[in-house]
C-alpha cells in the first residue's frame, strides 16, 4: 500500500480537477494573485515546502541549543514550527479526505482517516521504544552527582508496567514526544469535523473557536501521567487544525481579497516586528526595560500549552505575509535548493518520526562526544541531510511502486494473504 508514504500530501492535483467547487480551491498560501494558482496537474509546492521546513525546525529545536537554533523562527517571534506543522496538517488532511468524503462517502473516508490514525499511533509507540532504550542506557551509565536530583526523573523505569501502559494510553509522553499524540487526537476527530465542515464551514470554525475559548475559560485539558496535563492542549490546538481545514475547503479563497490588502500586510509586519522585539528582550535582558511594565504584565506568560492568542496571531501574520510575498508560481519553488525541504514536506509523518529519532540520537552523540560548537553544527546539519535523503528514497519508492501499477497491487494482495500488507 503506497499509503505508507504521506497520503494527504499526495492529492492536490486530481482534487483540483475533480473538486465540485467552481475553480480549484486555492490553498491558503497562494492567495493574492488570482492567476497564481498552480495549473491543474501540479501540486501546491508551497505547502510541502513550509511543512518540510517546519519539520527541519522542529528537529533543530529538539536538539540542545546550538548555532543552528538561532535560525529557527521561535527566536524571532512568538510562534514556532509546531504551529506551521499543525496548520498545514489540518489543511492537507481536509483537502484529501474531504475529497474522499465527496467521492466515496462518509464511511469510507472515515475508515481511511482511522487507518491513518493507526499509522501515527504505531509511529508514536515505535519512537517511545527508542526513547526507552536511550533513557535506560543513560540511567545505567551516567551518574554525575551534580544532577542527582534531576536523575530522579528516571524513577519511572522502576515501574515499567505502569509506565508502558500509560505510554500506550498516550498519557505518559517523554520530552519531545508531544506532537504526535496531539496529531492522533486531532485526526481522530477529523471525520465529524469534515462532515460538518462540508456543510457549514463557518459554523464549524465558529464551534472550534468556541471550544478554544471554553478551554481557556474552564482550563480544559487532557490529563498526563504521572501528573499534569498534555503539553499541547488538544482543546486549544484544534483551532489551528480546524482553521487549516477551513482554509482548505474554500475559506482561503474567500479570504483572498483580505489577504491582498496592503493595510493588513502593514499590520502584519508591525505585529511581527513588535513580537521580534519582545523576543529579543528574552535573549538580551538588558533590553528588558524598554518594554513597559504594564504590557509585560498583560502579555506574560505566553502560553504554548494552550496556544496563546499572541502565538496564534503571530502565526496568522506570518502565514498572511508569506502568502502575500510568495506567489505559488514563484520559480524558486522549482529550484533544486528547495527540493530537499519540499520532499521532506511530502512525507511528513515518516520525516517527523525520523526527526524525533535523530534528535534522540543527536542528544546521545553530543552527550558522549562532549562536543563543542563544531560537533553541534555537524549533528544538526547531518540530521537535515539524513531527513532529506530519506525523503528522496520515499519519493523514489513511491514513484517506482506507482509505475509498477498492477504488479504492486498484486504484490500487496499477496502480502495481505501472508498476513502482512499495509
Amino acid at each position: 500500500m503506497t499509503s505508507v508514504t504521506d497520503q494527504p500530501a499526495g492529492g492536490f492535483t486530481e482534487s483540483a480537477v475533480k473538486d465540485r467547487a467552481p475553480p480549484p480551491s486555492p490553498p491558503v498560501r497562494k492567495l493574492p494573485s488570482p492567476a497564481g494558482g498552480p495549473a491543474p496537474g501540479e501540486r501546491e509546492l508551497r505547502l510541502d515546502l513550509f511543512r518540510g521546513l517546519a519539520l527541519w525546525l522542529i528537529f533543530v529545536d529538539h536538539l540542545p541549543p546550538n548555532l543552528f537554533t538561532w535560525l529557527t523562527i521561535r527566536n524571532y517571534g512568538f510562534s514556532d514550527a509546531t504551529e506551521i506543522f499543525i496548520f498545514i496538517s489540518g489543511y492537507t488532511a481536509a483537502f484529501v479526505y474531504g475529497r474522499a468524503m465527496t467521492d466515496r462517502g462518509f464511511v469510507v473516508a472515515s475508515a481511511r482517516i482511522l487507518k491513518r490514525v493507526w499509522q501515527i499511533y504505531v509511529a508514536h509507540v515505535f519512537l517511545f521504544t527508542i526513547f526507552l532504550a536511550e533513557i535506560s542506557y543513560v540511567a545505567t551509565s551516567f551518574e554525575n552527582p551534580l544532577y542527582t536530583e534531576e536523575m530522579g526523573i528516571l524513577d519511572f523505569l522502576k515501574q515499567p508496567d505502569v509506565t508502558i501502559v500509560q505510554a500506550l494510553l498516550l498519557k505518559f509522553r517523554p520530552v519531545n514526544m508531544d506532537v504526535l499524540p496531539l496529531y492522533i487526537v486531532l485526526m481522530l476527530f477529523l471525520p465529524p469535523i469534515l462532515w460538518l465542515m462540508k456543510r457549514k464551514p463557518d459554523l464549524t470554525l465558529g464551534l472550534s473557536v468556541a471550544l478554544y475559548a471554553l478551554a481557556w475559560e474552564f482550563d480544559l485539558n487532557l490529563p498526563a501521567y504521572p501528573n499534569g496535563v498534555w503539553f499541547f492542549n488538544p482543546f486549544a490546538w484544534q483551532l489551528l487544525f480546524v482553521f487549516g481545514a477551513w482554509c482548505a475547503l474554500g475559506g482561503a479563497r474567500r479570504m483572498a481579497p483580505l489577504l491582498s490588502s496592503r493595510i493588513l500586510m502593514g499590520l502584519c509586519v508591525a505585529y511581527l516586528l513588535a513580537a521580534f522585539f519582545v523576543t529579543l528582550t528574552w535573549h538580551l535582558p538588558q533590553l528588558g526595560h524598554f518594554v513597559p511594565r504594564i504590557i509585560e504584565q498583560w502579555m506574560y506568560p505566553i502560553n504554548k500549552t494552550d496556544l496563546d492568542v499572541l502565538r496564534f496571531i503571530h502565526f496568522l501574520a506570518l502565514a498572511a505575509l508569506t502568502v502575500y510575498l510568495l506567489p505559488s508560481d514563484w520559480p524558486g519553488l522549482r529550484s533544486p535548493w528547495l527540493r530537499p525541504a519540499i520532499l521532506c514536506g511530502q512525507h511528513s509523518l515518516e520525516i517527523f518520526c525520523i526527526g524525533v529519532f535523530l534528535a534522540f540520537a543527536g542528544h546521545f552523540v553530543l552527550a558522549e562526544v562532549s562536543g563543542g560548537a563544531a560537533i553541534h553544527f555537524v549533528v544538526s546539519l547531518s540530521g537535515i541531510v539524513i531527513m532529506s535523503a530519506a525523503a528522496a528514497v520515499f519519493s523514489w519508492y513511491k514513484r517506482v511502486a506507482a509505475k509498477g501499477g498492477k504488479d504492486a497491487k498484486s504484490a500487496e494482495a499477496n502480502a495481505d494473504l501472508a498476513g502482512g500488507g499495509s
Binding site: 551534580l146 526523573i153 520530552v175 519531545n176 502560553n303
Partner: protein, 252 residues
C-alpha cells in the same frame, strides 16, 4: 544482567580512584555582568547590613542545593564563605532549609513551619526542578510561586528566586522552558531579583568553563560548580542590595 552488574561494579571501583580533576586549577567563575545585575533591589538587606552589621540568609532549596559531600560544599555554604570574604565587617549567616522532592506548591503551603521562629533578612527560594520533573501545570506552578513569594514578603523578608540547574543531558528528559518563564514573570511582578542559575550554567557549558556533559561519577565537578554558583550568588546579593563593600569598610 550479570555483565551489567559487573560493569557497574567496575565503574564504581573506577570512581573511587581520585579523579585527575582534583588537581585542576580553581575555575575563575567568570559570569557576565548582566546575569548578576538586577533591576529589583533588596532593600531590607541593604538596611540591615548598614544599621545592624548582620545578614541572615535562608536558602529554601531542593536536592540540587546540595552536593553529596561534607557540609558547606553546596552553593549555600559557598555563598556564605564568599559573603564573609567580601563583607568582612558583616556577620553573615546562611541557613539551608532542604525541601527534598517538594513542589513549589508543597513548599508554599509549608512556609509557616519552615520559617517558624526564624527572622531571616533574605530568603533565597530555589525552586522549579521538582515541578518540571513532575510536569506540574505551569499555571499551577505560577500560582504556587506567586503565593510563596507573597507570604515571604508579608513576613518582612527580602526575597530572591533561583531557577533550575542547566544540564545538557536533562534536555532530553525534562521540559524546562515553561518553568523558567514562570519564574521570570513572577520575579518581575513582585519586583524580586531572580538568580538565573540556568542561564549561568548554560553559559559556563557553552564557554567551556565547565564540561557539564562530563559523566564521571566523581564529586569534583559538582563541588566546583557549586563553588562558582555560591560566589556568583554572593555577588548577586551584594549587587541587588546595592551594597558598596568599600563604603562599609570605611564606615566601621
Amino acid at each position: 544482567m550479570k555483565a551489567i552488574a559487573g560493569l557497574i561494579a567496575l565503574a564504581l571501583l573506577w570512581s573511587t580512584v581520585p579523579a585527575s580533576a582534583e588537581n585542576a586549577p580553581p575555575p575563575n567563575c567568570e559570569v557576565p555582568a548582566h546575569f548578576l545585575a538586577s533591576e529589583a533591589t533588596l532593600k531590607k538587606v541593604a538596611e540591615t547590613v548598614k544599621t545592624e552589621g548582620r545578614l541572615d540568609i535562608m536558602v529554601i532549596g531542593s536536592r540540587s542545593a546540595t552536593v553529596l559531600a561534607p557540609d558547606g560544599t553546596g552553593f549555600p555554604g559557598r555563598m556564605e564563605a564568599a559573603l564573609r570574604d567580601k563583607l568582612p565587617t558583616v556577620k553573615v549567616n546562611v541557613n539551608l532549609q532542604l525541601q527534598i522532592k517538594k513542589t513549589a506548591a508543597d513548599v508554599s503551603g509549608d512556609l509557616a513551619r519552615i520559617l517558624e521562629g526564624k527572622q531571616p533578612t533574605l530568603v533565597i527560594w530555589q525552586t522549579g526542578t521538582v515541578d518540571a520533573m513532575r510536569a506540574v501545570d505551569p499555571d499551577d506552578f505560577r500560582t504556587a510561586v506567586d503565593e510563596g513569594v507573597t507570604a515571604l514578603q508579608k513576613r518582612g523578608a527580602d526575597v530572591a528566586l533561583m531557577n533550575l540547574q542547566y544540564g545538557p543531558r536533562m534536555e532530553t528528559m525534562i521540559t524546562t522552558a515553561p518553568y523558567l518563564d514562570v519564574m521570570r514573570v513572577v520575579a518581575q511582578q513582585h519586583e524580586v531579583p531572580l538568580f538565573d542559575r540556568f542561564a549561568i550554567m548554560h553559559h559556563w557549558n557553552e564557554t567551556g568553563q565547565f564540561d557539564l556533559f562530563n559523566n564521571s561519577r566523581g564529586i569534583e565537578l559538582a563541588k566546583r560548580v557549586h563553588d562558582c554558583l555560591g560566589r556568583a550568588l554572593a555577588t548577586f546579593v551584594i549587587e541587588a542590595a546595592r551594597i558598596k563593600p568599600a563604603e562599609l569598610r570605611t564606615q566601621q
